[in-house]
Amino acid sequence: MLFDRFDPLKGERLEIMDKDGRVNEELRPDLSDERLKWLYVRMSVMRFADKTALNLQREGRMGTYAPVFGQEASQASAAFLEKDDWLVPSYRESGALLMRGVPLSGIYRYWMGDERGLLGIKDLRVLPIEVVVGSQPLHAVGVSWAMKLRGIKSIAAVYFGDGATSEGSFHEAMNFAGVFNTPTVFICQNNQFAISVPRKIQTRSKSIAQKANAYGFKGIQIYGNDIMAVYAAMKEAMDDAREGRGPRLIEMLTYRFGPHTTADDPTKYRDPAELEKNKPFDPLIRLRLYLSERGLWSEEEEYEIMDAARAEVEKAVAEAEFAPPPEASDIFRNTWKREHPYLKRQENEMLALLRETEGGAPHA
């Protein structure tokens, strides 16, 4: 059992496929080459989609966006959830959402300022994107607790970063999960930075994984750029949670290659040499080397993969941009259960004002 064997308190961490694509055969998980190839393709799409979002933002076609560049293998963990499991994302989870089946056009549309892009997430058992850092682990504990109380064998996987572990609500969530033994998998993508503040300023603990011990359950630190380690740890954590052996915390060590969001400039707080040092650990490079070694990847094929990715992403951009914008009156929908007179009056005021000033709502 990996969670027992790789004890974070002893400074151990799980790596199965190293940066050169070499696999520790003893630890190799039951992931077929076909599945690994599929993961490579999807992670490539993820990276291209992410890069495109940054470009769209710079061209003024998208709002603030939090990239996942460098964290593709960690985000691919979402592909390993069962259909009836719950995915509870933070704002830096475009890759995980994509792996879960949320349409890319919808993700783009959300970051273009229209929440309706994420209509349909309920059918995928995905919760809304959480922007407050660290608030969502409690929701994951609650929803997985409901599954347990209702006798349903579904788990909740919650995504957050190293910064979130400093929030009080992270403690509350871990504590409730431990006390009620909820089927929750806590996934901490430790990408080394909370905007500009490095990991060492978040906690004096040697690892984030070891914090699970304080709450009475198991944690593991893994190389989050190693898709095999991500899969193996996820599989064991999900099995344990599902079978009532308790919640699990997986600390996925990764590195944020890009900025925190489109609103900051990492050259101000990060030594370029450090970025260069981390580049060889790129999650796509090691998987490509592995597949290449097995004769499952070639340069010509890379062109095909990238062409397909480009086509998929361009289609999503077009869909997002051509989606009709919301009506101004949409402001008044969905805050309240029922319309009430004073709210209706404000809506009418707004509409009258729009008629007076512009002859109609801006997008009508």
């Binding site: 719950w86 929440e115 309706r116 994420l118 209509l119 997430i121 309920k122 919760l127 809304p128 994107i129 407050v132 608030s135 409690l138 929701h139 994951a140 504990v141 609650g142 929803v143 997985s144 607790w145 409901a146 599954m147 109380l149 209702r150 909740a156 009080g168 609500s169 509350e172 969530a173 504590n175 409730f176 006390v179 009620f180 929908r333 969905n334 805050t335 309240w336 259960k337 029922r338 009430h340 007179p341 004073y342 709210l343």
Partner: protein, 325 residues
């Protein structure tokens, strides 16, 4: 019909709904074995078991945040935060999460839950056990806030809250928890959310109150009537979204409005009510709106509590001021 106090009326509402709907679960500190520090959930764990009436760690944010998750997961949580002063520890989950989840998901996750909060002063309690922070909630769109003033409404509002389909904060006026006994039907009924109640009809002035202040307002109205002043008294019942139409109709008739609440005056609900009356009944007003409220100062410990809190005497002074304007 049995005569119940507010504590027993809420307990009865929870009991009946738990019988009917096995999705209802109660969570909070001391709600299980202890039956709640005010005994509101007394006996329910014994009847429904520790999987439906669940003692949690001491963590207001944890209670509120997991309640949201439980609601997403198909249960109907009734979560208790022991005193209103501790609401602030859960405010991220209330204001940033519960209030916005329906909107953020464009209606996909409506979040049906009830958050119970013992409310207000007058019980000789320590600091943070006597406040009335409803204005914090009312300036947070998406949070429905109710407060009963009597046992009948307590049961009916709780039943309505449980069936409402949105996050409802149910404020419990702890000063009158056991002070009033009245007839509470055992059968099913709801007191509608979003509807104020004209409890006493009158023509000379309108008094608006809710929760424990209703008792003071009624006392004041009775005393004023012996001087020949006929006050109309409105129990707001739902604080958000507020039924201002009932208040405005009344003010159009009486021409004078007094609002009373325990919370500080500035930015309080009285200010909102006054603004709405100025919007719609300005020409009916014979005097400026009078606010008889707590002061813009920290709620004192109990040596000074009675000076701080409004009461019937202060309401009468305010009413006379209105009448002699």
């Amino acid at each position: 019909m049995p005569k119940l106090n507010i504590v027993s009326a809420i307990n009865l509402a929870l009991d009946r709904e738990m019988e009917k709907n096995d999705r209802v679960v109660i969570i909070g500190e001391d709600v299980g074995r202890e039956g709640g520090v005010f005994r509101v959930t007394d006996g329910l764990q014994g009847k429904y078991g520790p999987e439906r009436v669940i003692d949690t760690p001491l963590s207001e944010g944890g209670i509120a945040g997991t309640a949201l998750g439980l609601a997403v997961g198909g249960l109907l949580p009734v979560a208790e935060i022991q005193f209103e002063g501790f609401m602030y520890l859960a405010l991220d989950q209330i204001a940033n999460q519960m209030a916005r989840y329906r909107s953020r998901s464009r209606g996909q996750y409506p979040i049906s839950l009830v958050l119970r909060l013992p409310w207000g002063g007058g019980i000789r309690a320590p600091e943070h056990h006597s406040d009335s922070p409803e204005a914090v909630l009312v300036n947070t769109p998406g949070i429905t806030v109710v407060q009963p003033s009597n046992p009948y409404d307590a049961k009916g509002l709780m039943t309505a809250a449980l069936r409402y389909g949105a996050p409802v904060i149910y404020c419990e006026p702890k000063r009158i928890y056991r002070a009033i006994k009245s007839e509470v039907p055992d059968e099913d009924y709801e007191v509608p959310i979003g509807k104020a109640n004209v409890v006493r009809e009158g023509k000379d002035l309108t008094i608006v109150a809710w929760g424990a202040m209703m008792r003071e307002a009624m006392k004041a109205a009775e005393e004023l009537s012996s001087d020949g002043v006929n006050a109309e008294v409105i129990d707001l019942r739902t604080i958000a979204p507020m039924d201002s139409d009932t208040i405005i109709s009344s003010v159009m008739k009486t021409g004078r409005l007094l609002v009373t609440h325990e919370a500080p005056r500035t930015g309080g609900i009285g200010a909102e009510i006054a603004a709405r009356v100025y919007e719609d009944a300005f020409t009916s007003l014979l005097a400026p709106v009078e606010r008889v409220t707590g002061y813009d100062a920290v709620m004192p410990l109990f040596k000074l509590e009675d000076y701080y809190l409004p009461d019937a005497k202060k309401i009468i002074v305010g009413a006379r001021k209105l009448l002699s304007y």
